[in-house]
Symmetry: C2
């Protein structure tokens, strides 16, 4: 996963134009460690994190519960990516690739990629989903329709009745390891080509204070999802993971205002209405 981490950091630095990712190696007392790389910049990429880790050791009690497994030892490795662009017209991007095995012989791949717009550009959602569907389509185990649905189910805020964004794919427990590895490797190498065209074409769109305020309100929703509902975040925090790496996904700023609905006909309202409605089959939408 190191090459995926390096190439994405280089790509995001190029788009940003100003900042450089930190390189923070860390070790886990119980076994293993990782490299956290964070970009905080005055450029186009306000905040990004590209983290990889490989950890092993005794299975934490909560993990055995979650996996309903009798394993005593585990090994887990993965890479996670988050990009919060400065321009409110450019969507936030998140992806994760992971591999897990236990001493009871179980082993599987999981992961996903999803997009969270602050302002809705339907052509971005379509491009994102089509690119993911195309990668899935190259692999016999690829199942875009199922993974798209799982993504919609997972990235949902029940307490707001809102989707986090326009979705993407979410897969887990792929235990045909050879086929799964070929797919995960292909996805990892192409994450840049899925997201970067969308990111770069929004960077020139003008915005002002009002759009930044709306962005920070939407980032409040992102914080809520990650801290309340995201299983990976909660699992990491509750099992004593490295806080700075786990919470690297949080946006640089967030705000909570009295939550009035945006006026009908506004672009802000268009987004909210979409997120509160049924999931859209973006890969089939004509634009």
């Amino acid at each position: 996963m190191a090459d995926v981490q390096d190439s994405l950091c280089r790509a995001f630095e190029q788009v940003d134009g100003v900042g450089r990712f930190s390189v923070e190696p860390w070790e886990r007392p119980g076994g293993g460690g990782g490299v956290t790389r964070i970009l905080r910049s005055r450029g186009h990429v306000e905040k990004a994190a590209v983290n990889r880790s490989a950890v092993w050791g005794e299975t934490p009690p909560r993990l055995s519960e979650v996996q309903a497994s009798a394993s005593r030892h585990f090994y887990a490795t993965g890479v996670s990516i988050i990009v919060h662009p400065r321009n409110p017209h450019a969507p936030t991007f998140h992806a994760n690739l992971r591999y897990f095995e236990t001493d009871t012989g179980a082993a599987w791949f999981g992961g996903g990629a999803d997009l969270t717009p602050v302002y809705l550009y339907r052509e971005d959602a379509v491009a994102f989903h089509r690119a993911l569907a195309e990668i899935c389509g190259r692999h016999p185990i690829g199942d875009y329709p199922t993974w798209k649905r799982r993504c919609d189910e997972y990235f949902f805020l029940p307490h707001r009745g809102e989707a986090r964004g326009v979705g993407g794919i979410f897969f887990d427990h792929l235990d045909d390891l050879e086929a799964a590895w070929r797919f995960v490797e292909d996805l990892g190498r192409n994450l840049g080509s899925v997201y970067l065209p969308i990111l770069t074409r929004r960077l020139g769109t003008a915005y002002g204070d009002q759009e930044r305020i709306w962005q920070q309100r939407r980032r409040g929703r992102y914080v809520e999802f990650n801290l309340i509902w995201d299983r990976g975040t909660r699992f990491g925090l509750e099992t004593g993971g490295r806080t700075e790496s786990i919470l690297a996904s949080l946006p640089p700023h967030a705000r909570w205002d009295t939550d009035e609905d945006p006026p009908p006909g506004s672009p802000e309202r268009e987004l909210v209405d979409l997120l509160r409605g049924d999931p859209v089959d973006w890969s089939s939408v004509s634009i």
Copy 2:
């Protein structure tokens, strides 16, 4: 609890000098309802919420687990208060008073009050704790030392190794109802006199952008505590409570920066060192 709500709202409006609390009555489909009152202002009180509710109905499955009770119906009423001042030298204040009963005959009071400074003023922590200790001391069931310790234990962020603030009191399961009601009523009537002197004496202290940034970083910690660890918040969200009322406690803004420790000798570092150390017996500190 309605009089506690009204008098605190009036007092905070006076200190604020500009804004007015909203009045948002709501009903709970399963039984009961409440009145949420929120102030968002350009004055001294950047955001405050004073909420009361009285709800009843069938005991939600998660609630019976938590209370290890076989009850089928419950009744709960309470008031909760949060004040986020604009001036970073003025601490955030939180308090909660609640009563709970079940159809199996169990009934108890709970609650507490705690203070979260952005910059540490030892005399404020001392004044806060002495005022609470004095109220506790007026009542045979008052147990300031135990409730002070429980507050330190509860308002702690394990993933940061930091206390949320300088504590206060936290009590629960007071089932001598007559004595408990006298104490809770006394506490509720005096919450203003505990906090307002501390709030008002910090409002004239000068501050600039750096202090506001530090305030927003500390508010990030407040968001983390409330969304990850606070039992009331999680219980409310997971059982379908009114989201806008539950999350009214969130600060108006928060930020997450790369988390470098403030330089030694700075006031920011003084706060962090204090929060990471053993709890202080504030009521006995000489100032």
